[in-house]
Symmetry: C2
């Protein structure tokens, strides 16, 4: 049986604003040898599947600084330090990035972005009956363009590998599975 | 239209073995203001969908140091510095972690783990007709238990949210879509 690794000691090394790097020293339960592991601690993230009364999806296009590319995604972002409810965080990100608000907001799924070296969770929030009701609130370092796309068009992007971000692709696959379960079609 | 952000200057800050942290200074094309962005540079990663002649999947259970949890996943890992072919890297990881080798290895899909602040790509490799032919080769810091599971059991784990790792969950969704396209069933 696979056993957990006891932690001998741990130290936070550096704070890079969007994540902190920690070094954990542990003992292998299999070999008894000591090893160190770097872990990045990020706040939890939220991604938002926002559907309109017509069943279309709210999508965002933005420049991404990790890959230096302009990508099609769904709204989302980082939970604020004071936020404890991922549903509220998803509604905030949706409103700030796109000006859309909606109803029946709830958690569709949860995932761990990378259990190998990241400690956080990403929550996918489903919001229905979304309408454009507010001005967008972008900070100086953001530039977001909003689209409302029929599901068939989003599914086509998904099937053609045209959604680069793994967590967005995963959220859309999970929404597609939800549509199949609830009889809304593929 | 969304525009790319010109890079003013860039510096590598720290090497944490499994990733390096870089700081890029850029100018917003919308506001003209200067901002800095932290980026983690990792080698590319590979995940492996390994199927047996019976259509079962090779799965691995291991302790994960980011989340301190024992997780069910598919084989995979980090491409070595000298490796340029993700298919060869996937076959190597499959053999080292599980002792399985197979045929018709090819790229099933590619994704960007996190375009917001990570520069690398994760490749999902499909390998068919897999058989246990080699001894496993674990290093001192690894402890991996191999399972061969019918697809229906894996699909059940997938639908129940019992596969924590986002990139593994995504790979399994993409394999499920491949099965639907090729008539192998859901």
């Amino acid at each position: 049986m696979i056993q957990p690794w006891p932690v001998l000691r741990s130290q936070t090394l550096t704070n890079y604003r969007i994540f902190r790097v920690r070094q954990d020293f542990k003992v292998s339960p299999r070999t008894g040898t000591e090893h160190d592991f770097y872990v990045t601690d990020c706040p939890d993230w939220v991604n938002v599947i926002a559907t309109t009364p017509e069943g279309h999806l709210v999508m965002v296009e933005q420049f991404r600084h990790g890959t230096n590319s302009i990508d099609m995604e769904i709204p989302g972002g980082v939970m604020d330090p004071h936020e404890t409810d991922p549903v509220a965080a998803g509604l905030r990100e949706l409103r700030e990035e796109t000006g859309f608000t909606g109803e029946r907001a709830r958690v569709l799924s949860r995932t761990r972005p990378n259990p190998a070296f990241m400690s956080n969770t990403c929550h996918t929030i489903l919001v229905e009956n979304c309408r454009h009701t507010h001005e967008v609130e972008l900070d100086l370092a953001e530039d977001v363009r909003t689209y409302v796309k029929p599901w068939e068009e989003v599914a086509c992007l998904l099937n053609n590998g045209a959604i680069p971000h793994s967590l967005v692709t995963l959220a859309l696959h999970e929404y597609q599975a939800f549509r199949r379960r609830t009889g809304a079609g593929c």
